[in-house]
Structures are given as structure tokens and as C-alpha cells.
């Protein structure tokens, strides 16, 4: 069973917030899903290696050749706030 406090903790890790009403609704539905995935406990996996990626030829190396990338204007075209050619962010240090 997942508690309301656990849901609140996960929300803070995920940088999300919910109203009290949403939290209650969410906790119930979330508990059902967590109960369902606990079905996996039935499987004995003691001697089994995890499969992170199915593609066996993954992570090839390539020559480090410099190529043209996006321009500064293109990179910044979708941001709401920019300054001096950079993304503008809230001050985190005084």
C-alpha cells in the first residue's frame, strides 16, 4: 500500500506538485498500479542478468570530427527569456 506521504515525497523528487484532492485520487490509482507490478515477485530471477538494451551492437565509437552544429539563434529561438545570447535563469546566488 502506498501512503499519501510517499506520494508527496515522490512528487517532490519528480518536481511536481498536486492539490490535496489530486493527491488523494492519485494515491488510490497509484496503489493499484504498484500492486499490479508487484506481480513480478512471483518470478525467480536469482540467476538472471538484466537486459538494459536489446540492441547488441550498441555504443559504437566514432571519429571525433568537428562539424557545424545549430547556430546560437537557432538554439535560443524557443526560449521565453534570453539575455546577452544566453538562456536567462533565476538568480540562484546573491
Amino acid at each position: 500500500m502506498i501512503t499519501k506521504e510517499q506520494v508527496e515525497h515522490i512528487a517532490s523528487l519528480a518536481k511536481l506538485k498536486f492539490s490535496d484532492e489530486e493527491i488523494d485520487k492519485f494515491t488510490n490509482k497509484f496503489s493499484d498500479i504498484v500492486k499490479y507490478i508487484e506481480k513480478l515477485d512471483e518470478v525467480n530471477t536469482a540467476e538472471v542478468e538484466p537486459t538494459y538494451q536489446v540492441y547488441e551492437y550498441n555504443q559504437r565509437f566514432r571519429e571525433d570530427i568537428v562539424k557545424e552544429g545549430l547556430t546560437r539563434e537557432e538554439v535560443l529561438q524557443n526560449t521565453l527569456e534570453k539575455q546577452y545570447g544566453y538562456f536567462k535563469l533565476f538568480n540562484i546566488l546573491d
Binding site: 515522490i10 523528487l13 497509484f30 499490479y36 513480478l40 536489446v54 551492437y57
Partner: protein, 486 residues
């Protein structure tokens, strides 16, 4: 003649024989969209100016006798989680409502190189999370067969657009069934190719190790035409498949298809774990008819066992949501996407932006993934799910050492009505038979196999990795058998 009803192959033929022009074709499709899309809502964004310009270029090439690409002059829809330079790409979310990509996905460039005409961007479940296209910020897409019902999801817009003849072909993405399930609900062909054979560069990631771009067409040959235009190694995608020497994925396109020959001697497995499952009896009956056709056309059919299949959905929801929580961390309101107006600290900027712009299902999956990966649960849930994934993959490997194709219904249920399924867990069950394919990185195709109570049924043909040729042959054989009333 309504030229929007032609198959892509027929369109190509008429274009080459100069019976029609690409401009006529594209205008006819835009007229169709204007006429019916207010009701279907298959598109989020259209790009008529650019499409007509591209059509004129193709017409000029044909007039001058120049070589025209594989998709020359054909109208195509692109799912809205695939980057299109200069055309808004929203992922069906308020988060990216105004996002205009500065570059194209590799597959979009390939469509353009093949002279395909991109009509616009199709509707989808928000960030590809859903099985009904009900979670889109831009409203539901309706099933053209019955507008009270869902088109399936998450590529519902792409499937509906092809069914409604708004485009001839379209692109979708499939993480757990998001091409095959809407193909089944909308009575079209949908292919989820082997993981890695289509570049994911420029495709907004939902769950990297499961996502694969695929295609829709109104028949098998059209879908294969579309797929063969976008496959191939891409150095920009480290998970892209570098075709080892001797591996043949596609054959050539025969002008005339002799469906009688494709299934002869093919070994087909029916997993008892699927057919013993609680499937709508009407679907089961329809699938049985198709199995009889496959057998009549010379395939050997046997019951097989995939013992860990019943754990697929649980493993899938842990693995996919874990990857979702990590991928969607990039949406923080800083560089692009929605930014909240009210905030006092940097943390509040992140939290308010994400909470205001993500929908309920997206939040639920981020939460589930964060939970599965959080300290104390990572081994219990995430690693356990990855180990179960190994067992599922091993089951398939064993089966494919003996069989060419594995059969199942595409979906355990028929297309349902809007709002009919409220509980998320029941919604997840709609992907029960499609999810194992993504976990094992295999290829699979859903093809229409008839109607029950005026609703379409899809059958899923699963092939081993890089053995697309097997499912194409089986699909062409079965499709021919069905059309010829076997």
C-alpha cells in the same frame, strides 16, 4: 474518381503515367482534410504552403523526366513527436504548444529525399502516453469508422488520417503498441520494425530502449513502401542498426503480388498464453478464421509456449516509466517549452512549469518511474523488471529458433467508446499483446482481418529481429487470402 482513395502504389503509378499531378493529389487531400478533419481531429498542425511547393517540385521532376524518389508526390502525415524544422512539434502537450524545432528528424529528411510530401503533424496522446489519443492537449482524435469510439493510441491521429484518406501514408511511434493498436482500431496496416533499424534522431524520446518509429498504410505493400523509405543506419543515433554484411531486411517490390506463394512452408507459432487469455470471443473467432486462411495457404501452424509473457505488462510499466521519468526531466521551463508565470525560487520555476503543463497521465507515469528508480526500490522494481525482460526475450529467442512468425490478436478488446475506460490499469491492458514485442526489440505488424459488429479486428504478426521479410510475406499472403474470400 476520388483520388484520395487510391493506394500509395496506385498514386505513384498514375503520377508516373502523367494521369494526375502531385499538386492535384495534394490539393485533393487538403480538400478532404478541410471537409472532414473538423470532426476527426487527426491533425494538430497543417503545412499547406510547403506541401504544395514540394508537390510542384515533384511535378517538375516528372515533367523533365528526372529520377523521382520512392515516395515521389505522395501525401504523408507525421506524428507530432517527430521533429519538423520550422513546423510546430507539440507532442500533444501544453508543454510544447509553441515549440518550433530548429532541425529535422533524420526520418523527416529521408521522406523529403524520397520526394514524399509532408502534409502536417498528426494528433497523439500526450508525449505518446496512452492507448486512445484521449490524453492529447489538443482534444481527442475520433475513429473514422465510428466517431463515438477512440482511434487507439498513442499514434491515433496518424492511423485515423490514413483510414480517412486524409493522407496515403503516415509515421507513428511505438513504445508498447502505439502503432499496432491504433492500426487495429482504425482498420489499417501498422508496422513496428525491429528496434534500431529506423533512426530515432529527432524523435522525442519517451522510453529510449523501447521506442521505435514505424509506419501506417492502407495495405501491406503501402506500409512496406513507407518503411523502406525511412530505414537505414544513421550516425547521429547511437542505437541505430549498422546492417551487418549479408543481412537482408527488405526484398524488392513485386508489381503483381501472388499471395498464394508467400506462406508456403512458413512455420507459424500460436502462443498458448495469449490464446488462453481472456480475449473478446468475437475477436477470437475472427482470428481463428485468419489462422485457417494461413494454414490453407500452406503454412505449418503449431501451438507454442512463451511462459513469461504474463509478466510483460508489469515489466513494461516499470521499465518504460523509469525511462519516462528520466527523459521528461528535460522539461524544466528553462530552455524551451512552457514556463510558469508565478514563481519565487528556481525550484518553484521547475515545479510550477511542470505541474501546469503536463497532463494527468504524463504525471502519473513520471511518478511511477520516479518511484521505481528511487532509492530503496531501484533493485526491487527496476532491476527486477530488467531481469524479467531477459526471460521474455529468451522465450522469444527460443521460439524463433524454430518458427518464422508468431501470431496473436493485436488487441484483446475492440475499439471502445470515449470515456468508457476510466481506470488507468484497464487502459494499460489494451496493450497486453503488443508490449512483449518492444521488450524483446522484435518486429511486428498489425493487419486488418475483418469486422465484427461493425468494428474492425487486427491480427498481429510478430517476427524475429531483422526478419521483417517474414512478417511482410505472411502479411501479404494473409491479406491476399482475406481479399480473395478464402
Amino acid at each position: 474518381m476520388d483520388i484520395t482513395k487510391l493506394s500509395a502504389f496506385e498514386m505513384k503509378k498514375k503520377l508516373h503515367q502523367k494521369e494526375i499531378t502531385s499538386r492535384e493529389l495534394i490539393e485533393a487531400h487538403f480538400n478532404k482534410i478541410e471537409e472532414i478533419d473538423g470532426n476527426i481531429n487527426a491533425f494538430i498542425t497543417l503545412d499547406k504552403t510547403e506541401a504544395l511547393k514540394s508537390a510542384d517540385k515533384v511535378d517538375e521532376k516528372i515533367r523533365n523526366g528526372e529520377r523521382v524518389g520512392l515516395l515521389g508526390g505522395i501525401p504523408i502525415g507525421v506524428k507530432d513527436n517527430i521533429m519538423t524544422k520550422g513546423i510546430r512539434t507539440t507532442c500533444g502537450s501544453k508543454m510544447l504548444e509553441n515549440f518550433i524545432p530548429p532541425y529535422n528528424a533524420t526520418i523527416v529528411n529521408r521522406i523529403k529525399e524520397a520526394d514524399g510530401i509532408i502534409m502536417g503533424k498528426t494528433n497523439m496522446d500526450e508525449f505518446a502516453m496512452g492507448s486512445s489519443t484521449e490524453t492529447s492537449y489538443f482534444g481527442n482524435t475520433k475513429n473514422p469508422i465510428d466517431t463515438e469510439r477512440v482511434p487507439g493510441g498513442s499514434s491515433g491521429g496518424s492511423a485515423a488520417a490514413v483510414k480517412a484518406c486524409e493522407v496515403a501514408l503516415s509515421l507513428g511511434t511505438d513504445t508498447g503498441g502505439s502503432i499496432r493498436q491504433p492500426a487495429s482500431y482504425c482498420d489499417v496496416v501498422g508496422i513496428k520494425p525491429t528496434y534500431g533499424i529506423v533512426s530515432r534522431y529527432g524523435v522525442v524520446s519517451m522510453a529510449n530502449t523501447l521506442d521505435q518509429v514505424g509506419v501506417f498504410g492502407r495495405d501491406v505493400r503501402d506500409a512496406v513502401l513507407m518503411l523502406s523509405s525511412i530505414t537505414g543506419y544513421d550516425e547521429k543515433d547511437s542505437t541505430s542498426f549498422k546492417n551487418p554484411e549479408g543481412t537482408i531486411i527488405f526484398g524488392s517490390f513485386p508489381e503483381e503480388i501472388d499471395y498464394n506463394n508467400y506462406l508456403k512452408g512458413m512455420k507459424v507459432g500460436l502462443p498458448k498464453e495469449i490464446f488462453g487469455n481472456e480475449i473478446d470471443i468475437r475477436i477470437k473467432d475472427q482470428i481463428t478464421k485468419s489462422i485457417n486462411i494461413i494454414e490453407a495457404l500452406g503454412a505449418e501452424i503449431e501451438e507454442i509456449s512463451l511462459p513469461h509473457l504474463e509478466y510483460s505488462l508489469a515489466a513494461y510499466y516499470i521499465i518504460s516509466t523509469s525511462e519516462v521519468s528520466s527523459n521528461l526531466a528535460r522539461f524544466d521551463g528553462v530552455r524551451y517549452g512552457y514556463r510558469a508565470k508565478e514563481y519565487n525560487t528556481l525550484d518553484e520555476l521547475y515545479i510550477n512549469s511542470r505541474s501546469e503543463a503536463f497532463g494527468e497521465e504524463v504525471k502519473r507515469r513520471i511518478m511511477l518511474g520516479t518511484y521505481s528508480l528511487s532509492s530503496g526500490y531501484a533493485d526491487e522494481h527496476y532491476k527486477k523488471a530488467l531481469k524479467v525482460r531477459t526471460l521474455i526475450k529468451n522465450d522469444f529467442d527460443k521460439a524463433f529458433s524454430k518458427y518464422d512468425v508468431i501470431l496473436s490478436p493485436t488487441s484483446p478488446v475492440l475499439p471502445f467508446k470515449f470515456g468508457e475506460i476510466k481506470d488507468p490499469l484497464s487502459m494499460y491492458m489494451a496493450d497486453l499483446f503488443t508490449v512483449p514485442v518492444n521488450l524483446a526489440g522484435l518486429c511486428a505488424m498489425s493487419i486488418p482481418c475483418g469486422y465484427v459488429d461493425n468494428l474492425p479486428v487486427g491480427i498481429q504478426l510478430i517476427g524475429d529481429k531483422y526478419k521483417e521479410a517474414n512478417i511482410f510475406k505472411a502479411g501479404l499472403g494473409l491479406e491476399g487470402g482475406l481479399k480473395n474470400g478464402l
